[in-house]
Symmetry: D2
Subunit: 262 residues, 4 copies
């Protein structure tokens, strides 16, 4: 059993992670952390069905329960402090908060190597999404012709999606440079051919009912290869968090990106 | 058995139509027409495997074999003359050539009504494509939220495709006006959200290997409805030509669009 | 504003319907009914955010608020009594409960015609699903080659799904009889070619993560036509219930199946 | 420029390979081989547009043009003799014929290692199909819940397809054993749940218009991952043959399966 503490347990992601740790038979939840919590114990919250776990307000107090893994879903500023604290105390961090600076990241990784503490910081914990990106990158070596179609609910503000851009960036690293489509193609209506990212095209579909979906479509002479990920709800992230917890205790440094543990 | 003549039998579409008529057990090929043909009979051409059918150079000569249906895959100027000639002689035209003017079309339809001659002029003979457009129009009455993804080989010059635009036009006739996506959505890269057609979005994908495909995707609260047509090769048009030949002999006027016979 | 009452408001479907009526600006919720409710008014239940609507325990009491439409998500036995009661009192029923016998159905329809009361009993209220079945039936007239792939979460016990079977039945009414596949095809592993329904094949996929999806796939010479419905959550039924409420007040008899109002 | 000879150049695959070699600027076609050919030179065949390449009837004669790579699309018996001959003469074989026995394969591989001659024997040369199988195997490590849907034209005799079975075998090597679906699921019509391969389900769809397609669909909590390959025509194999020709000259043994060169 891996002894785990969850920081930021009152947020949406944090509470989902807390439940996952409780339900996973390989894990033992030894504490949760939130400086503004009013409870002393999780059993005061009906949604946890009487589970007896101490609520800490101060990170130093967490040391009393000797956790091996520190799950962190807080805010960037806090995350940085928490992750540093965890590493210094030989607790392996599993961090889902985004927004750390390059410098902070570098510092944390360097320190983890010095102290030989494993850890994971990941912008995306959905294993399926991470595999989709890995497969897309691999396929782009052989199929330079590729377009991305990402589909989301119509409340989304930005297009293309972060995952769409990340995927394009990863493919650009290995793909033979090429502009998709006929050199003389013409848009009868502006935007028909989508967003251009180093010659690849990204199309963003927004419709009610949809959640978060992405299709990476490759074309070659006489054939096509398509990789698609469908995310139906937030729970999809939890299998990646669980995998992270299992893997970090066996490595000796902090890595960035779940793909490094697959 | 319906007696059929094919005009323009030396072109790609015409020769495919000629073979379809020969193979269909409800049809009898009584002649083919091409003013520049050098053959006197189809059996001179090895690809027709000895089928004995006269080749006419002059449309007046066609009357000698009393056709009931006149399939026409020629060029716009010739098509107009041919279709008029067919109607005047009570032969039902089935025409796949595009490019007739509105005036020519009106004149031909009016004359067909006077003479009570059935006929069909269709820009698209693929039954599946025509059904896709009909279904999309019907669904647009109930789901104003819709985006079109059309996918073609990367030699295609125009985007969106003609079928994509036609589908959007048909949906616009019945759809409750609406701009897809969040009112404050933002394109991080221009074109991500596709071409705008009266608030609907059209996305054009171009990849080698693809032929001609279109997906009309509707979204509603908690659900999605998708209608997709895949065209793999030119032969897909022939089931529509065959259907046209069967239907025109039973109607009393020229109609425009295969959808009017479905 | 249409005056609506909801029977069975404490069940999953009923409470979703109640919220839909409250939020729809064309509707006025005038009462809810449940013989076992302890509340006197919806405002006692926090999930309704203080909406002031009387809770009735006896159906006769409902008449005091003069509803025009009676939404019913109860159990078969109660549904029958309720629907009869509604018709007798010139209230249009919109019923989502399944399980009425053929006889009960016939009796209710006959009575509705006598009294000229509009109404709707529907086994499926998802407009997208109903359109999918209608389109599939239409396409089956032209494409006898068709297979169904239905995909559901892996807690589902029966295969094929009810919707899959219903779709196959509807297509069988108009489809030219035909056994899919090569006459001499051979299953290397039993079941590979799916379930046989009058020559059509139905394939049932069961995976975690999935909700309720169905794809009806047609094939013709050189082309394919696919109609797909995705149901992401129970809320998908509510647009059909809303449409039913709007339509029943304008018709003069009880109809079975949402398709009759599309 | 790699010097290449093609054996079996009169067959469908062989002639497609011959044209690919002619058109690829990194390759030089130095000869073709067929014991029953009547021509002395490819330029006698109009489809090769006057390309001047000798036609050999005897494999010993091929040595006169010093090829580096020997492409072989013949019949199993001939393939074995040809491949052995090529290896003995330090020509790298690229073989697409299937049907060699395990023993023959082992012998050829052993001899290639002794002589340090690179080579490739591949049952499937479509790079997209090979990547699909690799990706499916990788994903099966993390997602034990998986079903395969393979779709082919309706002239196909066997179900599941060879590629479908191969994919299932590859996944079974790494997948956590599991029977898909609910333990108490029930087939209302036999075959609905597909063919069972070590607990995974395979569904075979057969429709006119289709060519060769396969979808490997994974499910996890709240998410799905799908990998799909579409083969539109025979030319899809040629990019794999070309890749094979480029890679075999750089390795020192015969490998089985294109995946070993990706």
């Amino acid at each position: 059993m891996i002894r785990i503490v969850v920081a930021g347990f009152k947020g949406k992601m944090g509470s989902t992670a807390t439940k996952m740790v409780i339900e996973n038979e390989n894990f033992e939840l030894v504490g949760v952390l939130d400086p503004f919590a009013k409870e002393e114990n999780l059993k005061e919250l009906p949604e946890y069905h009487g589970v007896d776990v101490p609520v800490f307000k101060d990170k130093n107090a967490v040391l009393s329960v000797s956790p091996e893994v520190w799950i962190d879903f807080t805010i960037p500023k806090v995350t940085y402090e928490n992750t540093k604290f965890a590493i210094e105390h030989h607790i392996s961090p599993v961090v889902g908060t985004t927004g750390l600076t390059e410098e902070q990241l570098k510092e944390l990784i360097d320190r983890s190597k010095e102290l030989q503490v494993g850890g994971l910081i990941a912008p995306n914990f959905a294993i399926g999404a991470v595999l989709m990106m890995q497969f897309a990158k691999k396929a782009a070596e052989y199929f330079p012709d590729v377009e991305i179609i990402e589909l989301h609910h119509d409340n989304k503000l930005d297009a293309p999606s972060g995952t769409g851009l990340k995927t394009a960036e990863m493919m650009a690293e290995v793909r033979k440079p090429k502009k998709q489509g006929h050199p003389e193609e013409e848009e009868l209506i502006a935007g028909a051919r989508g967003a251009d990212f180093e010659g690849m095209k990204i199309h963003s579909v927004r419709l009610p009912g949809l959640i978060a979906h992405q299709q990476v479509q490759f074309g070659g002479v006489g054939e096509g290869l398509t990789i698609r990920h469908d995310s139906y709800d937030r729970s999809s992230f939890m299998s990646g968090v669980a995998l992270g917890c299992e893997k970090v205790v066996a490595i000796k440094e902090l890595v960035y990106g779940l793909e490094n543990l697959l």
